[in-house]
C-alpha cells in the first residue's frame, strides 16, 4: 500500500469528504493561502475556493460559534484551532453550546461538526503551544474525543468524525504530522469508539494514546529483546471509549501501564485506571495499575526540560520492565 504522512492523511480525508459532500467545509485561522499553521489545508483553497475554505480573524470563539451554528442548520463544518492551547478560547461555544444543543432540543437538532486541533510538546514551542488538553473535553457529555496515532487511523477516524452527527474534538499531534504509514487511497471509515490492539503480547498491557502509541511500540520492541512480551492497545477514541478491548487485554496480561502525554493529575489515565479497576479485569490484576504521564508542570521552553516533561521511550521501557519483573 502507498505510504503517506499523518498530515497528508488529514488533508486527504478532508479533501475527499469535501469532494463527496457539499455540506462539508473548513473554517479556521490562516487555513487559506497559508495552508494552515502545519499545512493541513495546503492547496485546498485552490481546489475548493474561499467559500469552503473560510479564513477567519484571530477569534477562536467566533469561528467555533460559526461552525456550531452552521452545523445546526445542516452543514458539516471542520473547524481548525491552530494549537490545542487555544481551545480554551473556543470552549464556551464547544462545551456550552455544541455539546448541549442536541440534548436541549430533545434530539431534534444535531451539531455535526469537527473541531480539529494539534496538541502535544516536542517542538520547542513552550507553555502556550504544547499542551495536551484532551481530557477537558472527555469530561463533557455530548462531545466525542478522537486521538489518532497513525496516518491510517487519521484518515479513517477523520472521515468517521466528519460523518458523525455529534460535535467531535479531533486531537492531532504535531510530532506525528511527519510520520509515514500505509493509507488506502479510497475513502474508508474507522468507527468511533473502537480501540485497536497495535501489538499483541502476553506479559503487560500498555494503553497509550496519540504519540505515546509509537513510543510504546518502540519500547515493546526493545523489551521483546529481553523476553518481555508487551501488548499495546490504542483506544483511538477517548470518548466513547472501547472499554471491552482494554478490559480483555488486561484480563489477558494481568498488568497494565497507561501512557499519555498530558499531565498525570486529572489526565485520561485516571479515567482508564478507574474503568479497569471497576471492571471484570480487577480480579486479574497482578500488579497495581500504573500511569506514566506528563509531569505536573507547564511544558518548559528549555529543550532538555521539555524532553523530560513527558514520557519518552526509555521511560516506558524502564517502567514496563519494573512491572513485569514484579518490582512494582
Amino acid at each position: 500500500m502507498r505510504e503517506i504522512t499523518y498530515l497528508e492523511a488529514v488533508r486527504e480525508a478532508m479533501t475527499q469528504e469535501m469532494e463527496r459532500d457539499e455540506t462539508v467545509f473548513m473554517i479556521g485561522e490562516d487555513i487559506g493561502p497559508y495552508g494552515g499553521a502545519f499545512g493541513a489545508s495546503f492547496g485546498m483553497l485552490e481546489q475548493f475556493g474561499p467559500e469552503r475554505i473560510l479564513d477567519t480573524p484571530i477569534t477562536e470563539l467566533g469561528l467555533t460559534g460559526a461552525a456550531t451554528g452552521a452545523a445546526l442548520v445542516g452543514m458539516r463544518p471542520i473547524a481548525e484551532i491552530m494549537f490545542m492551547d487555544f481551545t480554551t478560547l473556543a470552549s464556551e461555544q464547544l462545551v456550552n453550546q455544541a455539546a448541549k444543543l442536541r440534548f436541549m432540543f430533545g434530539g431534534k437538532a444535531t451539531v455535526p461538526m469537527v473541531l480539529r486541533t494539534p496538541a502535544g510538546s516536542g517542538t520547542g514551542a513552550a507553555e502556550h503551544h504544547s499542551q495536551s488538553l484532551e481530557n477537558w473535553f472527555v469530561h463533557v457529555p455530548g462531545l466525542k474525543v478522537v486521538m489518532p496515532s497513525t496516518p491510517y487511523d487519521v484518515k479513517g477516524l477523520l472521515v468517521a468524525s466528519i460523518r458523525d452527527n455529534n460535535a467531535v474534538v479531533f486531537v492531532e499531534q504535531k510530532l506525528l504530522y511527519k510520520t509515514k504509514g500505509p493509507v488506502p487511497e479510497e475513502l474508508y471509515e474507522i468507527p468511533l469508539g473502537k480501540a485497536d490492539v497495535k501489538r499483541e503480547g502476553k506479559d503487560l498491557t500498555i494503553v497509550a494514546t496519540s504519540i505515546m502509541v509509537p513510543r510504546s511500540l518502540e519500547a515493546a520492541k526493545q523489551l521483546s529483546e529481553e523476553g518481555i512480551d508487551v501488548e499495546v492497545v490504542d483506544p483511538r477514541t477517548l470518548r466513547p471509549l472501547d472499554e471491552e478491548t482494554i478490559v480483555q487485554s488486561v484480563i489477558k496480561t494481568g498488568r497494565v501501564l497507561i501512557v499519555h502525554e498530558a499531565v498525570k493529575t486529572g489526565g485520561f489515565g485516571g479515567e482508564l485506571a478507574g474503568v479497569i479497576a471497576e471492571s471484570e479485569a480487577f480480579g486479574y490484576l497482578d500488579a497495581p495499575i500504573v500511569r506514566l504521564a506528563g509531569k505536573d508542570i507547564p511544558i518548559p521552553y528549555n529543550r532538555t526540560l521539555e524532553y523530560h516533561a513527558v514520557p519518552q521511550v526509555e521511560d516506558i521501557v524502564a517502567k514496563a520492565r519494573d512491572m513485569v519483573q514484579m518490582k512494582v
Partner: protein, 455 residues
C-alpha cells in the same frame, strides 16, 4: 550499626534451619540481596540473601549446625565497624550449640514486654525463638523477628496480595495466608498461588489400594443382616475414609490427676446449683475444642476435586465438635457447634441432650452435620487404647481410652500411682504433617494435665 543475619523461616512449619554452606566468609564485602549462604530445612535447601550491604562478619553458626529460626547467625557491618558486644565468638558458642527447640507454645515462656510487643505488632509469638534463659522469648527476640522479612505485608494480619492472586486462591479454595509471596514486599502474586496449588496437588496424589474380594464364608452358616440404613452409611463412609485418607496415628499418656480435680470442683458447683453435671467427655470436649482453635490444620477438611482444579484444604473458623455416641444399631456423631466458644456447662448440657435424643432416635439431620473434628470416647467401656477411623470429610479424630490407675514415675523419679488416660489421634496425612499433629497432642496433653492453662 551491625545488621543481624538471621536464620530465615522459609517453610510453613519450620522450627529450625541448618547452615549448609557459607558462600561468603568473614571479612568479605557483600551487597544487599546477594546470596551469602545456603540453608537447609527438613524440606528444602534454599539460598539466603544478605539483608544489607557491608562486610560479613562474626559468623556464629558453622556449616552443618542447626539453629532455631530467627537466630542471629552472622552480622553485616559497616567498614571499620566492630562486632556487637552480644556476639559470642563461634568457638564459645559451640559449647552450647544445643539450643532448646520449642515443642509447643505451652512450653515457651515469654517476657511480658516481649508479649506486649508481639501483640501490638500482630506478630505470632509462637514463631519467635527465645534466646533468653531456658529459651525465654525476650524483647530482643521479638525485635529480631520483626526485623526479619515478613512474608506478608503488614496490614495488621491482612494478606498482601494482588487481586489476581486473591481470585485464583478463592477459585481453588486456598488459604492465601499459607502462601508466600514473591512480589514486592512479599506481595502474593498469581504465580505464587499457582505454584502453591500445583505443589498441593502433588502432595494430594494418593494411591488407592484395591480391596480384596471376600472369597469364602465359614461352612457353619451365618445370619444375614441386610446392609441398609445407618449400617450402610457407616460402611460406606468408613470404607471411603480408610481407603482414600492416608491415616496416621499418634498416641499419648495423660496424667488425669488435675483434670479429675477440676471436674470434681465443677461438679461440686453443679450439684450446688442443680445444673447438669459435667461429664468427663464434656470437659474433654471443651478442652479439645479450645486447643483446636490454636491448631487449625487439625480442624480442617481436605477437598478433593475432579481434575487439577479446585482441590484444596479448608481450615474452618469454628470448631464444630462431633462426639460419637454408641447406639444399639450402630453409632451416631451429634455435633456441638462452635464448641470453642461455649462454656463447659453449656457443652455438658448440650451433649447430654444430644446423646439422650440420639439414643431415642430423635436427632434432627442438622444436628449430625457440619462437624469439623470428632471425639470418640470408649473409656466408659473400659477400652484402654484404640485407634479410630477419620469421619470424613474431617481431617482428624481423637480416640479416648479409659482412665486407669497406673504406676508411673513422678517428676522426681519416684514411683507413684496416677490416673492415666491414653489418647490416640488419627489424622489425614494429606493435611496434617507429623509435627503438626505432635504439636497438637503436646498442647492437648499439657492442658489436660493442667486444665488451668486453658484460662
Amino acid at each position: 550499626m551491625a545488621i543481624d543475619v538471621i536464620m530465615p523461616k522459609v517453610d510453613m512449619d519450620q522450627e529450625t534451619g541448618t547452615v549448609a554452606r557459607w558462600l561468603k566468609q568473614n571479612g568479605e564485602e557483600v551487597r544487599q540481596g546477594e546470596t551469602i549462604l545456603e540453608i537447609e530445612t527438613d524440606k528444602v535447601a534454599i539460598e539466603v540473601e544478605s539483608p544489607a550491604s557491608g562486610i560479613l562478619n562474626g559468623i556464629l553458626v558453622e556449616e552443618g549446625e542447626t539453629v532455631p529460626i530467627a537466630t542471629t547467625i552472622a552480622y553485616i557491618l559497616e567498614p571499620g565497624e566492630a562486632l556487637p558486644d552480644a556476639a559470642p565468638a563461634a568457638e564459645e558458642r559451640k559449647t552450647d550449640q544445643k539450643v532448646p527447640v520449642r515443642q509447643t507454645d505451652w512450653e515457651v515462656s515469654v517476657t511480658p514486654v516481649a508479649r506486649n510487643m508481639a501483640q501490638a505488632t500482630g506478630l505470632d509469638i509462637n514463631t519467635v525463638s527465645g534466646s533468653g534463659r531456658d529459651g525465654k522469648v525476650t524483647k530482643k527476640d521479638v525485635e529480631a523477628a520483626l526485623a526479619s522479612p515478613q512474608p506478608f505485608g503488614n496490614g495488621e494480619g491482612k494478606v498482601y496480595a494482588t487481586p489476581a492472586a486473591r481470585r485464583i486462591a478463592a477459585e481453588k479454595g486456598l488459604v492465601l495466608k499459607s502462601i508466600t509471596g514473591s512480589g514486592p514486599d512479599g506481595r502474593v502474586q498469581s504465580v505464587d498461588v499457582l505454584a502453591y496449588a500445583a505443589a498441593a496437588q502433588e502432595v494430594a496424589r494418593t494411591t488407592i489400594v484395591p480391596v480384596p474380594e471376600f472369597v469364602s464364608a465359614p461352612s457353619s452358616g451365618y445370619e444375614v443382616f441386610p446392609l441398609q440404613g445407618m449400617r450402610r452409611t457407616i460402611a460406606e463412609r468408613l470404607t471411603a475414609s480408610y481407603q482414600s485418607i492416608p491415616h496416621i496415628n499418634f498416641s499419648a499418656s495423660i496424667d488425669m490427676t488435675r483434670f479429675n480435680e477440676a471436674r470434681a470442683k465443677l461438679n461440686a458447683r453443679a450439684d450446688q446449683n442443680g445444673s447438669t453435671r459435667i461429664s468427663a467427655t464434656a470437659l474433654l470436649a471443651k478442652i479439645v475444642a479450645r486447643i483446636l482453635t490454636r491448631h487449625p490444620w487439625l480442624n480442617s477438611s481436605f477437598k478433593d476435586a475432579q481434575g487439577e482444579q479446585g482441590a484444596a484444604i479448608h481450615l474452618f473458623n469454628a470448631v464444630n465438635l462431633g462426639i460419637a455416641v454408641a447406639l444399639e444399631e450402630g453409632l451416631i456423631v451429634p455435633v456441638v457447634r462452635d464448641a470453642a466458644n461455649k462454656s463447659v456447662a453449656q457443652i455438658a448440657a448440650e451433649f447430654k441432650d444430644l446423646a439422650t435424643r440420639a439414643r431415642e432416635g430423635n436427632l434432627a439431620p442438622s444436628e449430625v452435620r457440619e462437624g469439623t473434628f470428632t471425639i470418640s470416647n470408649l473409656g466408659p467401656f473400659g477400652v484402654e487404647e484404640f485407634t479410630a477411623i477419620i469421619n470424613p470429610p474431617q481431617a482428624a479424630i481423637l480416640a479416648v481410652g479409659a482412665t486407669k490407675p497406673k504406676v508411673v514415675p513422678d517428676a522426681d523419679g519416684q514411683v507413684v500411682v496416677r490416673p492415666i488416660m491414653r489418647i490416640t489421634l488419627a489424622a489425614d496425612h494429606r493435611v496434617v504433617d507429623g509435627a503438626v499433629a505432635a504439636h497438637f497432642i503436646a498442647d492437648l496433653k499439657a492442658t489436660l494435665e493442667e486444665p488451668v492453662l486453658l484460662l
